[in-house]
């Protein structure tokens, strides 16, 4: 897609009297674009297989290249070019023009006069092409014809609505679902004038990518419940941006009116997301306008939070932090790279500590070492590489749920297997998910906790052919498996395969690059390296503390034990952390908590000073994709009362330095932070090595124990718990759109068939943190493994069920 087709195989043809040479197999419709002729079309889409369904693109072909012409006009979107071919489009051929007008007349016979109430009105290819290539009058209604009508609209999912009268039967939506997303839950049914897009009665159109069908529908037949009747294209202002929901960095277009986001569309970036985005990226924007959004700073006075002015809040926060003793910084994984840099610098310069961690999820010291050694500054794998790789190994990663664009790329890459040379997808997972089947992948069935051994064993298995052309994608979940990340790095080192780390959140990779880790400084400079410390210290004008700091679990533990007094918390949800109860307790125990949040959370309720931060639509920034590709974006709205994290941190740092603690950050705007990051640049010295620096880290209390404490042998009646977050779940950034939430998958527990037979269709799981009753589903799991979605019920698995790596018991859930 991104590479220019080789120019060796050129075919010369004549279109409208203009001779041109195009690569072999080019379709006439696209060759015509090169001579500046736009042939009208509906079904043709560059990323979908040609189908010739709508017949709008008819052209006259007086010579097909063999001296003979086609007797009838031909559909140019299914006709490949041939040497010596002569094509006349509507621009020069009255035959083609008449044929196109005739097709347009057919299409409009049953088309309703809905334009005034149709969401597509104003950006509708049918409207436009009826103007450019249609007749002004309708013979049908002039002679008293009665249009076929349907009741409308009908739901094909909670989110996607179908207006059958408006459909032009181009099959773009059904082809997308089948060819791209692999969720063929819609199809064209019936015949003739009654042909329509249908759903299977018992299978809902449940797809994480369904929103794309709305965008590519050339008419207003598919609309979203979310955007229906909300606005018109001509009163929307479009701003390009980057999706904030995962580490894929999808290009999006934000359409807004009067300071409110109306809808989001996929941008077109062939190197990243092509023209697709996930439904989460498309519909997940209401969180920023929820009623619990924080709009002014608050400080705690006599046990109650009260509104405060910005300068007062800065001063109170600075005073509190200066008196709190040791202070840790938890940034959360949603920050932009610039904000992450500000947190990183704030910790070192204003607080004088390396106690900073962006990981608000189960993690390990091994992971920090892995990130420093194998991830930071590395840009070894790109989306295009996924397509050219012979084998892609997925470990601790379910792309369909956790990285939608990787899923679509892998599906595209693997789908070519039929015609030879497709990518083989190998997944180290507890069971073959539907997503893996859609990627035509092979499963290396692995119980949770055994990933390290499975990775190590891969090299011996010749059938998977892991060599230099292979790519290993490790997910952030592997952090909870001791040794797994090292095993992945080892596998890569031994086979020459390329390795990439795929986090779930948009800010994770940027935070690694910006040094929001206890063992890393910005630009990949290891804390343990004296040269790196001096390098950073010279830029910042301070002495960077030389001992690596505590990681997030360590900070929580130290707050609990009183070793640390203060904590600065960014967007962290306690329920995401290794131990939600301990996190809450630590926030209670901490003598001073500064929270920078978008909406009211448990953290802000426990905080002493609360700063409202700008959502991504209100600030410029950069997300770094899992590939390491920076994706800068500009602010959509300018709202003076909505400040980015870095401005707030700068304010606190300035007040702190006035109290004689630390130094100011030296920047106040995103542009200044960007400039400073650029000036500092990446580290060109020695990288940290995996294994070497692990020991340099202070042991983090909980995970180490959990890792060691997890029984590795099967205990009777005890099940290993496999879990990950579904794409559409209870995450707080997905709040505010009921129709979108309703398209998510219902939470189920997956058991092996034997266990399913033993425990029945409803099971109650009990772990060390609680128990939960869920409907069960049989799946090809090991007999002692159970899978549940991580954040689709209650407060999530970590809060309500079990600690990471622990085991659960299963009982029949009788009463449900």
């Amino acid at each position: 897609m991104t590479t220019v087709p080789e120019k060796t195989d050129l075919v010369t043809l004549t279109i409208d009297g203009v001779q041109l040479s195009v690569p072999k197999d080019t379709l006439v419709i696209r060759a015509a674009e090169q001579v500046g002729v736009q042939v009208p079309r509906f079904c043709d889409h560059p990323l979908l297989a040609p189908v010739g369904a709508c017949r709008q693109c008819l052209v006259d072909v007086p010579d097909a290249g063999n001296g003979r012409g086609f007797p009838k006009p031909q559909a140019s979107c299914t006709l490949p070019v041939a040497e010596g071919m002569v094509v006349n489009t509507q621009a020069t051929s009255p035959v083609a023009d008449k044929a196109q007008q005739g097709i347009m007349e057919f299409l409009l016979i049953n088309h309703p006069l809905d334009c005034p109430v149709c969401d597509k009105g104003g950006e509708c290819p049918l409207q436009n092409q009826a103007m450019s290539n249609g007749r002004a009058d309708s013979r049908f209604s002039a002679r008293g014809g009665v249009k076929r009508t349907y009741p409308k609209p009908i739901n094909i999912s909670a989110q996607v609505l179908l207006d059958r009268e408006r459909c032009v039967l181009c099959a773009r939506c059904t082809r997308f679902s089948e060819q791209i997303a692999g969720d063929p839950f819609i199809a064209l049914v019936e015949r003739g004038a009654l042909q329509q897009v249908g759903i299977y009665e018992r299978e809902p159109f449940e797809s994480y990518f369904s929103g794309n069908t709305i965008q590519i529908c050339p008419v207003g037949a598919l609309t979203s419940a979310d955007y229906r009747f909300r606005s018109r294209p001509f009163d929307l202002v479009s701003t390009p941006s980057v999706a904030e929901h995962d580490a894929c960095g999808s290009a999006i277009r934000i359409d807004h009116r009067r300071g409110k986001v109306m809808r989001r569309l996929a941008g077109n970036d062939p190197e990243v997301n092509e023209e697709w985005i996930t439904d989460k990226d498309r519909f997940g924007f209401h969180y920023a306008t929820e009623p619990d959004r924080l709009t002014y700073p608050q400080i705690r006075e006599d046990g109650e939070l009260r509104p405060a002015s910005w300068p007062e809040a800065f001063a109170v926060a600075a005073r509190g932090l200066s008196e709190a003793g040791g202070t840790g910084v938890l940034t959360g994984g949603r920050v932009t790279a610039e904000d992450a840099y500000a947190y990183s610098k704030f910790a070192r310069v204003a607080l004088g500590t390396n106690d900073i961690d962006f990981r608000s999820r189960p993690h390990s010291a091994e992971e920090a070492a892995f990130l420093a050694a194998e991830v930071v500054l590395r840009r070894t794998v790109t989306y295009a590489d996924l397509e050219s790789a012979s084998t892609v190994v997925l470990a601790g990663l379910e792309p369909e749920d956790e990285a939608g664009m990787i899923f679509l790329r892998l599906r595209k890459a693997a789908g070519r297997a039929g015609s030879g040379g497709g990518t083989r997808v190998v997944s180290i997972a507890p069971y073959a998910s539907r997503g893996l089947a859609k990627m035509h992948g092979q499963l290396v069935r692995t119980a949770p906790g055994d990933e390290a051994a499975a990775l190590a064993a891969l090299v011996a298995q010749g059938e998977f052919g892991i060599d230099k052309t292979a790519v290993i994608l490790v997910g952030e979940r592997l952090a909870t498996v001791p040794g797994a990340l090292s095993a992945a790095a080892g596998l890569a080192a031994r086979t020459g395969a390329r390795l990439a780390w795929v986090p779930r959140r948009a800010g994770d990779r940027g935070a690694v690059e910006a040094g929001c880790l206890p063992n890393l400084l910005p630009g990949g400079r290891p804390v343990a390296d004296a040269g790196a410390r001096v390098d950073v210290g010279a830029d910042w004008g301070v002495d960077v503390p030389e001992t690596p700091g505590r990681d997030a679990d360590g900070i929580i533990a130290a707050l609990g034990s009183g070793e640390l007094g203060g904590v600065v918390v960014g967007g962290v949800d306690p329920d995401d952390t290794t131990d939600p109860a301990a996190t809450r307790a630590a926030l209670e125990a901490a003598s001073f908590v500064v929270a920078l949040e978008l909406r009211e959370t448990d953290v802000t309720r426990a905080a002493d000073v609360v700063f409202p931060v700008a959502p991504v639509s209100d600030k410029a920034g950069t997300f770094v994709t899992w590939e390491g590709r920076p994706r800068p974006f500009e602010a959509v709205f300018s709202s003076p009362s909505s400040l980015p994290d870095l401005r707030i941190l700068a304010g606190i740092a300035e007040e702190l330095s006035a109290l004689g603690v630390g130094r100011p950050l030296g920047f106040r705007t995103v542009a200044e932070a960007r400039a400073e990051m650029e000036e500092m640049g990446p580290w060109d010295g020695e990288r940290a090595v995996l294994g070497g620096s692990e020991t340099a880290l202070r042991p983090s209390s909980t995970t180490e124990e959990a890792g060691a404490g997890a029984p590795s042998s099967t205990t009777e009646g005890h099940f290993a718990l496999a879990t990950w977050k579904l794409m559409i779940d209870n995450g707080s950034l997905q709040d505010g759109d009921k129709a979108y939430r309703a398209t998510g998958r219902a939470p189920v527990a997956r058991l092996s068939p034997t266990a399913y037979d033993a425990h029945g269709p409803t099971v109650t799981l009990t772990g060390d943190r609680g128990s939960v009753t869920l409907p069960a589903e049989p799946a090809e799991l090991d007999d002692d493994v159970v899978w549940v979605p991580a954040n689709s019920f209650g407060n999530g698995v970590l809060a309500d069920l079990a600690s990471p790596g622990s085991r659960v018991t299963i009982a029949k859930g009788a009463d449900q």
Partner: protein, 190 residues
């Protein structure tokens, strides 16, 4: 130009002309006055004068506006702001303002911008928007000159009922649009 000629001015020029002007004054005193006693007496405009807008209703009181924003699109002065929303057929009838699927939830015309050109009227596909002959569009604050939907809606005539309420004149919007709701009902247009 003090010329000797001035001495040769005729008697008419010297004596009649200076008072003749007063004749005009005198004659006019007995003519019908053309002065308009506005604002004490209002004068009717030409019948098709472009005055303040009105949002019309169907004979049962439902709004004709479907919130399509075409008037806003047509407006050269960007004086109109519309937001559409979905009608619903709830049991209590609380969700329906117009026949059909869509209605204008927000409708504003800013008379500080409006140049009363009438292009919006031409754009309106439902004849929801028409113009009255009302020309008294002055006020003391800017905010008051942004007319809301409630200010623009036609008054309820006898037989009309304030929306929201269910469709009274037919089962679907088609019977409204085709005028199938009986000869007895009169158009709500003014």
């Amino acid at each position: 130009m003090a010329q000797p000629k001035s001495q040769s001015r005729s008697m008419k020029e010297q004596f009649w002309d200076p008072v003749a002007g007063f004749g005009v004054t005198f004659r006019t005193m007995f003519k019908k006055v053309v002065t308009e006693q506005y604002p004490f007496e209002k004068q009717p405009t030409a019948p098709r004068f472009h005055g303040r807008h009105q949002l019309n209703r169907w004979p049962d009181g439902l709004e004709k506006c479907i919130g399509c924003e075409l008037c806003a699109w047509a407006c050269p002065a960007d004086a109109i702001y519309v937001e559409g929303a979905t009608n619903t057929d709830d049991a209590d009838g609380e969700g329906r303002y117009s026949p059909g699927e869509r209605y204008g939830r927000v409708y504003q015309i800013n008379y500080l911008r409006c140049i009363l050109c009438g292009l919006c009227i031409e754009a309106c596909p439902t004849r929801a928007l028409t113009m009255t002959n009302e020309y008294e569009l002055a006020d003391t604050t800017r905010a008051d000159l942004i007319y809301e939907k409630s200010d623009l809606l036609a008054p309820l005539l006898p037989g009309m009922e304030q929306p929201p309420h269910p469709m009274r004149l037919g089962d679907d919007e088609g019977s409204y649009y085709r005028g199938e709701y009986g000869a007895s009902a009169k158009e709500g247009d003014s």
